[in-house]
Subunit: 252 residues, 2 copies
């Protein structure tokens, strides 16, 4: 497979607690950063309620137009954990007890009060699924086709991502380099536009901030081509300096 | 309009910086919390790239199936700020300079180096749009039909939400009450399910945590009906106590 092919993933964050504002999501940023290292670009994220139809709709659209689809949330033991059921419905398969997941849970809960109906829910998978190792707590993640179902609790998600590291085919990793300047972005918009236009593989993001009464911005150049990334970085730096601003490598 | 009607909103978070993992989104939680107070439920969120087609597609789907659609990001002065263009395309209208927005920017930048091409971009709106006051920095937000375009920088977004407070029609606010217990959620899943089933207007969320070597969970009961919310809360508390757990009002 060519290194030039762009591999994409989508993420569905499942949970009323995010949509109610109760919980600040942390999985989007951590999944995005992890995907970059795998050479996979996060193309789209949806946050959906704990609702079978909403989850199934998002799953079927996003799995079709991306190489990979990740979900976080809704794979725990309680009644509002319906990700497995929704994905089984989206795929048109049954929900079954995965014997290895059951064995993991039996072992994990042996010293914690034993398996009960709620805990056994965490062994349910769409028929045909494999498990994703969870070395933080008992219940595993679930993989079927190009879908990866992970926990909602960020440190457990992190452990599952760790278990998946290096197992997904990707392309050239997206590289980035940051420059910072105490410049109002509205004064150097032309410099950014010209630098991006002259370097076809590069995308430049501009991230303004306001600190200690002064405005500035960080400029992130992204490309999968290390040579063009460097050329673009140098051109951008020169342009900013020509406009009268000192440039800080690595950002401010 | 009946108080029983459920008003919904969707949010589109626009920006490569969120999808690359560089920036941790803070707007989902703040928009969600603000909407709750207005009696409007955040039904769905999408995070999309700085890409005309992706933004326009999300806008047209979400504005049709919600009472309101909010966007954050992409209304600044640089080349990657394309929200206005994408929404104008989605609505099939031209992009025009809004005279009042131009006047605001002229005044704001009078002592900051004057209006230039980049800054004037922030006066561009889809034809027919109104402005949303920005008392934090110069450039206003933009409202057209049921769309509200806001800044990406969270404290500016907060100011725009503040300006909109009380101006959007909503229903009964979604009320919530929290109970906490040092219980593994897998042991009381049945209690939660029963309490929710017995109170039709209520939804119960279960949010486990792990602190100081002990597992616990907070249970959030949500309803627009204050009477049923209280009945459900009491039933849930009794059920948890019956299962042998001390319950902390307000959560742990």
């Amino acid at each position: 497979m060519s290194k030039d092919r762009i591999w994409t993933a989508a993420l569905i964050v499942i949970g009323d607690e995010i949509l109610s504002g109760r919980t600040q999501d942390k999985n989007i940023a951590q999944v995005a950063s992890w995907l970059n290292v795998q050479g996979i670009r996060l193309a789209e994220v949806r946050v959906v309620a704990d609702d079978m139809d909403h989850i199934a709709e998002a799953v079927n659209i996003l799995r079709a137009r991306n190489d990979y689809l990740f979900t976080t949330g809704g794979i725990g033991p309680t009644h509002d954990d319906i990700t497995v059921d929704a994905i089984a419905r989206a795929l048109g398969v049954d929900v079954v007890i995965h014997p290895a997941a059951r064995a993991i849970l039996e072992k994990y809960y042996a010293t914690r009060g034993g398996l009960n109906e709620g805990r056994l829910r965490m062994a349910r998978v769409p028929a045909g699924a494999e498990l994703i190792e969870n070395h933080m707590s008992g219940a595993p993640g679930i993989q079927i086709e190009n879908l990866y179902m992970m926990a909602g609790v960020p440190h457990i998600t992190a452990g599952m991502l760790d278990a998946l590291t290096g197992t997904l085919e990707g392309g050239a990793p997206l590289l980035s380099v940051t420059l910072g300047a105490w410049a109002p972005e509205s004064e150097i918009a032309g410099v950014l536009r010209e630098a991006e236009k002259a370097h076809e593989s590069c995308v430049i993001g501009s991230y303004p901030f306001f600190r200690g009464g002064k405005v500035g911005a960080n400029f992130v150049v992204r490309s999968t081509d290390p040579h063009e990334l460097e050329t673009c970085r140098a051109a951008l730096k020169a342009g900013l300096e020509e406009a009268g601003y000192a440039v800080t490598d690595g950002g401010i």
